[in-house]
């Protein structure tokens, strides 16, 4: 069973704070990868650039509308994701709880809609 774990965290405006936190964050994610890698649950995952670099695209009446910024202006934004393959929701919850972003942020666990063969 595959799940997309969306890492929703408050975005940091303060660059100095950001630089300080990034070292710790890299360590934390390193530890997470070191645990989950050998376990074989990770299928993919990336860190995303902040929403100031985001573009939203809509097509309306055949016209492409591109606007700057994220889909929704909320305090927490998707800062990254992991695609995992787990036995069931309980395992996905356990993996999600170990993502460093779960502390202070929220991990949204979304089952992948598997296409029937």
């Amino acid at each position: 069973m595959r799940y997309l774990l969306l890492i929703c965290t408050p975005e940091m405006d303060d660059e100095a704070q950001f630089d300080q936190d990034v070292v710790k964050m890299n360590d934390d994610y390193g530890a997470f990868m070191a645990e989950m890698g050998p376990r074989g649950v990770l299928q993919g995952g990336e860190r995303l650039r902040p929403t100031v670099d985001a573009t939203s695209v809509r097509v309306r009446d055949g016209e492409v509308l591109a606007t700057d910024g994220p889909f929704a202006e909320t305090k927490e934004q998707i800062g990254g994701y992991f695609l995992v393959d787990c036995a069931d929701l309980d395992e996905a919850i356990e993996v999600a709880s170990k993502i460093p972003g779960a502390k202070g942020g929220t991990i949204e666990v979304r089952p992948v809609w598997e296409m029937e063969m």
Binding site: M1, C86, D90, P111
Partner: protein
């Protein structure tokens, strides 16, 4: 009711949940499990009058329901269905996953079902509904009636919950050790919620509501049987039994709520109190106190007082303080205020309530001004009491509470002069319903 119908009714109460749980485990299909269990009971009504009641009704029903499921899957003959059919021909069914032995100590099927129904990934209202539907066999219509929602709404709630179990792969199992401690409170909370829905009912179908308290007690009993080492499960059952024992005295002939202080204690059900107290004692001997044991201890203080005046309010106030340490909450603190008022005088209780009011956590909750009002009344501060009663009435209390508050308001306004003539305000016992 004839002897056979009675046997079927008893089997329904005792076996429904187990049969459904067993079938969900072997087919993985919740709807199929429910429908085939229903069919098995219909068949029992046909066959038992002629063949006699089987020696082991549960086994008869499980086999009949399972055969029915195999038939239906065979007729359905889809690829996935075929696979499940094959899985079912081996008896007992193979474990769902190899880690399953983790819950070997507590493998009763109903417990798996209960933990799955109460999974935190499901909305709370769906957990309650699903527990009732699958474990106790109440119909969708009965559940809808009990929770005062239209039947289609309840049906949709159940459909969505079952769909989520399938699509999000919520596991059908009792969580292993470390997760069990996290999940158990959620299960206990659903059972307690069920009980309260039946107990606190001021509206709705009285009969179904009474059934809810009965079902909650049965579920709590099942939990205690299945998890004998969990003192909180015992605490919950004790709490429910102690509350339920007071039920005959809670309403008068006209259906009005009678406050605890005024209840006819001879109407309390002695056997329920004795069982509750015994369970509580056995739970407390494990020295792992928790919110349900503490609440049961408070209920036991009330239930074992021969008269309202003999209630051990000092202990109750201490228990509320302890409860507040386990589950910090403003409503617990409000209850403590009432107990403090009874133990140490209205002024001491009022000080606690005033602190709560300043805190603001209970803004808009009618019991805050209602409590203030009663304490002010006891202190003879009738004008302030009247103002507080009016604030409480403005916050939309239940019909029974409106009648109580209005009666008190009339007392403090119209009798104010007469009361002021007395040397001291007459001490009245505080109602804790």
């Amino acid at each position: 009711m004839g002897e056979v119908e009675e046997a079927v009714a008893r089997a329904f109460r005792e076996e429904w949940g187990r049969v459904v749980a067993t079938l969900i485990r072997s087919t993985g299909d919740w709807d199929l499990a429910e429908e085939c269990t229903q069919d098995a009971f219909a068949r029992a009504l046909e066959r038992w009058p002629a063949d006699g009641v089987p020696r082991n009704p549960g086994a008869w029903l499980t086999t009949t329901a399972r055969n029915r499921a195999v038939d239906r899957l065979r007729r359905g003959a889809r690829g996935a269905a075929k696979e499940r059919e094959l899985a079912m021909t081996t008896d007992p069914p193979p474990p769902v996953d190899p880690d399953d032995d983790e819950d070997a100590g507590v493998t009763d099927e109903r417990l798996r079902l209960l933990f799955t129904c109460c999974h935190p990934a499901l909305p709370l209202e769906a957990r309650v509904a699903l527990t009732l539907r699958t474990l106790t066999g109440l119909s969708t219509e009965e559940i809808a009636r009990a929770f005062l929602v239209p039947e289609p709404t309840m049906a949709q709630r159940l459909v969505r919950a079952k769909r989520k179990i399938r699509h999000a792969a919520i596991p059908y199992r009792v969580p292993p050790g470390h997760q069990l401690q996290e999940r158990l409170p959620g299960v206990l909370a659903v059972v307690y919620l069920l009980f309260n829905a039946g107990y606190a009912a001021s509206t709705g179908d009285a009969l179904v509501r009474t059934d809810l308290t009965g079902e909650a007690i049965r579920l709590a009993r099942t939990l205690v049987d299945l998890m004998p080492d969990e003192p909180e499960a015992q605490g919950l059952l004790a709490l429910l039994l102690l509350h339920d024992a007071r039920r005959p005295a809670r309403t008068d002939a006209a259906g009005e709520l009678v406050p605890l202080e005024a209840q006819d204690r001879s109407q309390w059900v002695r056997a329920g109190i004795d069982e509750g107290v015994e369970l509580l004692d056995s739970a407390l001997r494990r020295h792992q106190p928790g919110p349900y044991q503490i609440q049961a201890a408070i209920a036991a203080c009330h239930a074992t007082a021969t008269t309202a005046a003999e209630t051990d309010w000092v202990q109750i106030a201490a228990l509320y303080a302890e409860l507040g340490r386990h589950v910090p909450s403003a409503t617990v603190e409000l209850n403590r205020a009432v107990a403090v008022a009874m133990a140490a005088g209205a002024a001491a209780g009022l000080a606690v309530v005033d602190r709560l009011e300043a805190d603001g956590a209970l803004d808009g909750y009618h019991l805050l001004p209602a409590t203030q009002a009663d304490l002010l009344r006891r202190l003879g501060r009738h004008d302030e009491a009247a103002a507080a009663y009016r604030r409480a009435l403005a916050l939309d209390p239940s019909a029974a509470e409106v009648r109580y508050l209005e009666r008190r308001l009339t007392e403090v306004t119209t009798d104010a002069l007469a009361r002021r003539d007395r040397a001291a305000p007459r001490e009245r016992r505080w109602p804790v319903a």
